[in-house]
Every structure is written in structure tokens, then in C-alpha cells.
């Protein structure tokens, strides 16, 4: 069953949010391409969890407050967001840019976080291991380089894009540029503070990720105290799309719902 779409307001910022399932509360923070459709991966989580997927401020039809100027601002927004959910604690999941944001939330305050799952997160830099330059890639490369299985890329590229969707994608690119261009996809301070993440943490990384090399997964594993690292073979930058069953299984094990 697809999730339902709602609006969610925190202070004066209203965002679009998908919600589905019941059980322990789970919040998924999306990546730089914006809020995806209701994916099979979400369905797997929603089978036993209460899943919320907010669209970040600055993306899609969510409000675009001018005070979000970097990922730190976005993290402060999500601290407010978590405080306002009415749950004691949530299981926090983030993909790529969303993973970076989730880590920035967690180093600030883990009081509302039961567990943390980072799917190929941005946010740190491993010297000598250059990340892919997705700002120079053309539209087709930007899709192809995200997936190990090019059949998935073929399908995505074959999907028609309406003018309205194209406008949303462009707006998302603007916000992504604001957040990720400089320094490219990381916050130099973040790795100094990752020891503050005190909750059980799972890092999942596609072995064939062309955006952030898999060596980044090991670095996260060294820096976050209570952290398990799962490397997914034959998988690119988005394990939730390319290997939904495995990704959901590992997360549900962490949450204790498997």
C-alpha cells in the first residue's frame, strides 16, 4: 500500500511528507535528488514500522526558507522536527545528503534518536579518495553513475519527464548546489565530532558506488563508536533502490523488527 501524502509544519516551515505503516517510528531523510516516489523499500519498512519521509525544506513543494544556507542549518531544522513529532525516540535513516544531515543531527543531540542508519552518506572526506563530480556529469551520466545495474538506469532514463517534474528537479538541483558544492559534499568539522553519536549505527554502502567510493564506509566505521558497516556487493550509490530487500532486512534487524 502506498504511503499517504501530508503536509507537516514545524515552526513556520511547511513541508511535504509521505507516511505509511504502523509500529515504531522511523524517519527517512532523502538524498540530493529529492523526495522519491513510494519505493518498494519503503513498503518493506512500512510493513512493521511507522515510516515518515519528509521532503527537505528547499526541495520539491516544501517551503524554501532562506535561512537554510548549509547542511548545519538543515540539521537544526530536523532537531526541531524530531522534537515536534510527539514520539520519544525515532529510528533515523538517511540516504547520501540525507545521511550527512542525519549525522549532523546526531552529533548535535541523540536524545530523540533510537538508532541511526546511514546509506552511502555524504559529509566526510577521505583524502586521496576523490568523490565523483556529480556537478559536472551530464543528465544521463548523473543517472547511470548512481547504479551498478544499468538496467535500472535504462528504466529511469526511459521515464517521461513532465515540465512540472523538470522544474522540480531543477529547483532541487539549486538547493543541492547550495548545500553540497563547497566544500564538495562534506563538512570539515563533522568528522571531529562523530564520536558524539552514541546510538547503535549502521552504515550501508554499495561496493560499486561511483559517487562516494566504498573506502568512505570504512572511515565512517572507524569514526562512529557503535557502528556496523555493511558493504553490499554489485550495488551502486543507492542500496535502497538497487538492493531493497537486503537494505530493509539490515535496517529491520537494527530496529529489532526482523
Amino acid at each position: 500500500m502506498p504511503g499517504t501524502e501530508t503536509r507537516h509544519k514545524v515552526r513556520d516551515v511547511s513541508v511535504r511528507m509521505l507516511r505509511g505503516g504502523s509500529g515504531p517510528p522511523v524517519v527517512f531523510l532523502h538524498g540530493a535528488n529529492g523526495l522519491p516516489q513510494w519505493l518498494p523499500f519503503f513498503e518493506l519498512l512500512a510493513a512493521t514500522c511507522d515510516l515518515r519521509i519528509p521532503e527537505h525544506p528547499g526541495y520539491g513543494t516544501s517551503d524554501n526558507p532562506p535561512w537554510v544556507r548549509n547542511v548545519g542549518d538543515l540539521a537544526m531544522y530536523y532537531l526541531d522536527f524530531l522534537d515536534g513529532l510527539g514520539s520519544d525516540k525515532v529510528h533515523l535513516i538517511g540516504q547520501s545528503l540525507g545521511g550527512w544531515t542525519a549525522a549532523e543531527v546526531a552529533v548535535r543531540n541523540c536524545a530523540r534518536i533510537a538508532s541511526l542508519t546511514l546509506l552511502a552518506p555524504a559529509g566526510i572526506r577521505v583524502k586521496g579518495e576523490l568523490c565523483g563530480d556529480n556537478f559536472i556529469w551530464d543528465a544521463e551520466e548523473s543517472v547511470r553513475n548512481l547504479y551498478y545495474d544499468q538496467k535500472i538506469a535504462d528504466q529511469m532514463l526511459a521515464m517521461p519527464v513532465s515540465d512540472e517534474q523538470a522544474d522540480i528537479m531543477l529547483g532541487n538541483r539549486f538547493t543541492t548546489t547550495k548545500l553540497g558544492w563547497e566544500p564538495r559534499w562534506y563538512n570539515p568539522s563533522l568528522e571531529r565530532w562523530l564520536h558524539r553519536i552514541t546510538v547503535p549505527t549502521l552504515v550501508i554502502w554499495g561496493e560499486n558506488d561511483k559517487l562516494f567510493p566504498v573506502s568512505y564506509a570504512r572511515r565512517w566505521g572507524e569514526l562512529v563508536p557503535n557502528c556496523r558497516v555493511e558493504i553490499v556487493p554489485q550495488c551502486g550509490h543507492v542500496p535502497a533502490i538497487e538492493k531493497p530487500d537486503l537494505t530493509a532486512k539490515k535496517i529491520l534487524e537494527l530496529i529489532g523488527r526482523s
Binding site: I136, L170, F174, W181, P183
Partner: protein
């Protein structure tokens, strides 16, 4: 009209087959394709051309800034300007421009321009630009903040030139406890500021504001676009309650003159086509990174490009037809320029008489013919 001799300083010995193995002649083009011995010859030829243009009676000689590219060998245009100051005596020297958002300390730009203005005893014209999108890949500066940084850097530089220092500057991107420009500029209140631009309504509105009245130059655009943007500026000036003077309006264009149309087209062809297809052509992601222009302008640009279809090589003939370049006999060139001048009220023409792979010999002939057969007829 006021005539400017403008140079991009392209690296002509570029191996074009190698160049097309890469996305662009910018940023990602390996610099082992640059041969310093050939490059040194290029600098010498180009500086000689710039100096010679003063003897041919051009009013202004001009250089500009681009980074990590074979398109233009002037990442530091002020170095060329300093050289030109020493070798000329009456022409104005324009740096069109420095790209303000690319630097983290705009006071350096204020200082360097002030130095050049002193060295030349007031012959400097400055250009304030944002750099083209490629520059944001080359420098890492976030294009999303390009407009903000430009505005702030502009305010800082003008204040550094005009306000007694030291004073503090408190901005979003730029913050300084001490702004105290030594030396002060030679020209008072400050050297002229020109705004070269591909044209955007935001920039036009800003440049035309009564407290600025900055000369606005439409660069390398088809004649319809030149006319549209210059007339937009005039309209804007009227809305501000004044009439834009010819001095405030200009355009920049490659120009080639020979004794007949046919000969001019034949001789200009390789230069024009390499300029647009080999040196300048750049993929969308590099040329227009997100935030470089406003979301609404970007949407329009994308729709326009979609309508145009797949990118292909432009021919000299079509660039001549749409007026992006002016090529022909003295009469053809005079007519083309005066038509656009009359349609826009523009008083400034920035000519690029060397472009693409155009040789020293053809460049020299082009310069001499333009200076003797075109320029005198279009002076006021």
C-alpha cells in the same frame, strides 16, 4: 562611437582532435596540451596587437579574465594591463573584467585596480563580472551564491575606493575589520565601471540604477538579443526617470573586414568557427551550474535550448546571418554596425579583431582595415 580593441588571447596551437576527447576546452582539458614555448609566442603576438591598436587610434584596449582554459590565456588580466600601461601612453586600458565572486578577498581587486589607475595616471576602466559558469568549477566557489557575492564584493570595492579608510565592512560573505585601500585610485571618485553581460533583466535593472548608471555591454550575442537587452536598459533608465546616454550602451562582437564580402567570409571562417565550437562550446552543466542564474531565468534558458534541439557545430555563415559576428567588406561592416547602433542608441563598440585560430597576419590586416575603413566613418 567609442571603439575598444578587445582580446581574449586564445591558445591557438591547441590540438583540436585532443580537445574534443574532453568535455570542454575548460577546467578538464589537460594542461599538457599547453606548450609554454608556443604559449610565450602567443603572449608576445597578442600584446603586440594590443599595443598596435593604440597606434591605430582605438580609444580603449581591453583584456579579460578566464580560468583553466585554452579559450583565454589571462587568468590574471591585471598582469597584462600593467604591461600595456608601460607600452602605451594615451589609450584607456580596460580590464573586462575581474570576476568578483571568485575571490575571497575583494579588497585585493580594489587595491590592484587602484595601483593600475595610479601607474597609468587614470587610464584604467574596470569591468565587474561574475565569470562564466565554468569558472565556478575551476575555483570551487559555490555558484548558488554568485549573485550575492557579486553584489557584496561590488559594494565593498566601491566603498574601499570612495570612503575614507579605515572602516569596517560587515557582509554575509565578506567581513573585514579594516578596509583601508592604499593606494587610493587616481581617478575620482573612482575608475569607470563597465558591466559586460550576456544580458539578464536583474543585471540591467541594477546597472541602470541612477546611483550607478554603469555602461552595459552585451557580449557575443545575436543582433536581436543585443538590441533587445540594450533597449531594455534604455527602458529601465526611462523608468528611473532619465535618458540613457550612448556612453552607457555598447556591445561586444568579433569583427572581420576585408576588401570584399566573399574574401572576408573566407578568411574569417576558421577563426569564427573555432572560437564558438572548439574554444567556447561547453556542456550545460559547466556553463550554467545551478544558481549561476536565477531559477526562472534558468527555466527559460533550458526551454529555449530544448526547442533548439541537439547541440551541433555552428557555421560561420549562420553566426554572420544572425549578427553574432560581423564579417564583410568595409561597407557591409559599416552598415551592420551603424544599423545596430541606430536601433539601440549604443555609443560603445567592443571589437574582437583576433578570434579563434585567426593568424597574426590576418589579424593585423583586419585591424588596419577596420581602423582605416570603418572606424573613421562611425566616429561622431
Amino acid at each position: 562611437m567609442q571603439f575598444t580593441f578587445f582580446h581574449l588571447m586564445p591558445y591557438r596551437p591547441l590540438d583540436m582532435a585532443e580537445r574534443h576527447k574532453h568535455r570542454a576546452a575548460w577546467v578538464v582539458l589537460p594542461n599538457n596540451l599547453y606548450d609554454p614555448k608556443k604559449g610565450a609566442d602567443e603572449y608576445q603576438s597578442y600584446i603586440d596587437q594590443l599595443v598596435y591598436s593604440e597606434k591605430l587610434d582605438f580609444d580603449v584596449i581591453a583584456v579579460n579574465e578566464h580560468h583553466q582554459t585554452a579559450y583565454g590565456m589571462m587568468p590574471a588580466p591585471n598582469l597584462i594591463a600593467a604591461n600595456l600601461i608601460a607600452r602605451t601612453s594615451k589609450a584607456k586600458i580596460a580590464i573586462l573584467g575581474r570576476a568578483l565572486p571568485l575571490v575571497n578577498n575583494p579588497i585585493n581587486i580594489a587595491e590592484e585596480f587602484a595601483m593600475l589607475d595610479n601607474l597609468s595616471r587614470g587610464r584604467i576602466i574596470t569591468g565587474f563580472v561574475r565569470g562564466i559558469g565554468n569558472e565556478y568549477h575551476a575555483t570551487g566557489i559555490n555558484p548558488f551564491f554568485s549573485h550575492e557575492r557579486y553584489q557584496e564584493a561590488h559594494d565593498l570595492i566601491v566603498r574601499a575606493w570612495t570612503k575614507p579608510g579605515p572602516f569596517p565592512f560587515e557582509g554575509e560573505h565578506y567581513n573585514f575589520r579594516y578596509v583601508n585601500c592604499w593606494p587610493r585610485p587616481y581617478q575620482q571618485p573612482h575608475p569607470p565601471i563597465w558591466i559586460p553581460s550576456q544580458g539578464s533583466s536583474e543585471t540591467i535593472k541594477w546597472a541602470a540604477a541612477p546611483e550607478r548608471k554603469y555602461p552595459f555591454l552585451v557580449t557575443f550575442s545575436a543582433r536581436d538579443l543585443v538590441a533587445r537587452y540594450l533597449n531594455l536598459y534604455r527602458e529601465q533608465a526611462k523608468q528611473y526617470g532619465y535618458e540613457a546616454s550612448p556612453d552607457q550602451l555598447g556591445w561586444a562582437s568579433p569583427v572581420y573586414v576585408a576588401d570584399t564580402d566573399e574574401r572576408a567570409r573566407k578568411e574569417a571562417k576558421a577563426g569564427v568557427e573555432t572560437l564558438f565550437n572548439d574554444f567556447l562550446a561547453t556542456p550545460f552543466q559547466m556553463l550554467l551550474p545551478p544558481g549561476y542564474m536565477s531559477l526562472s531565468s534558468m527555466k527559460n534558458t533550458i526551454r529555449m535550448r530544448k526547442a533548439l534541439g541537439a547541440q551541433r557545430r555552428l557555421t560561420a555563415d549562420e553566426l554572420i546571418e544572425n549578427g553574432t559576428v560581423v564579417v564583410g567588406s568595409p561597407r557591409t561592416v559599416r552598415e551592420e554596425i551603424s544599423r545596430l547602433r541606430d536601433a539601440t542608441g549604443a555609443g560603445k563598440l567592443v571589437t574582437m579583431l583576433q578570434f579563434g585560430v585567426l593568424s597574426d597576419e590576418l589579424t593585423r590586416r583586419n585591424m588596419e582595415m577596420f581602423a582605416s575603413e570603418v572606424m573613421p566613418h562611425l566616429r561622431n
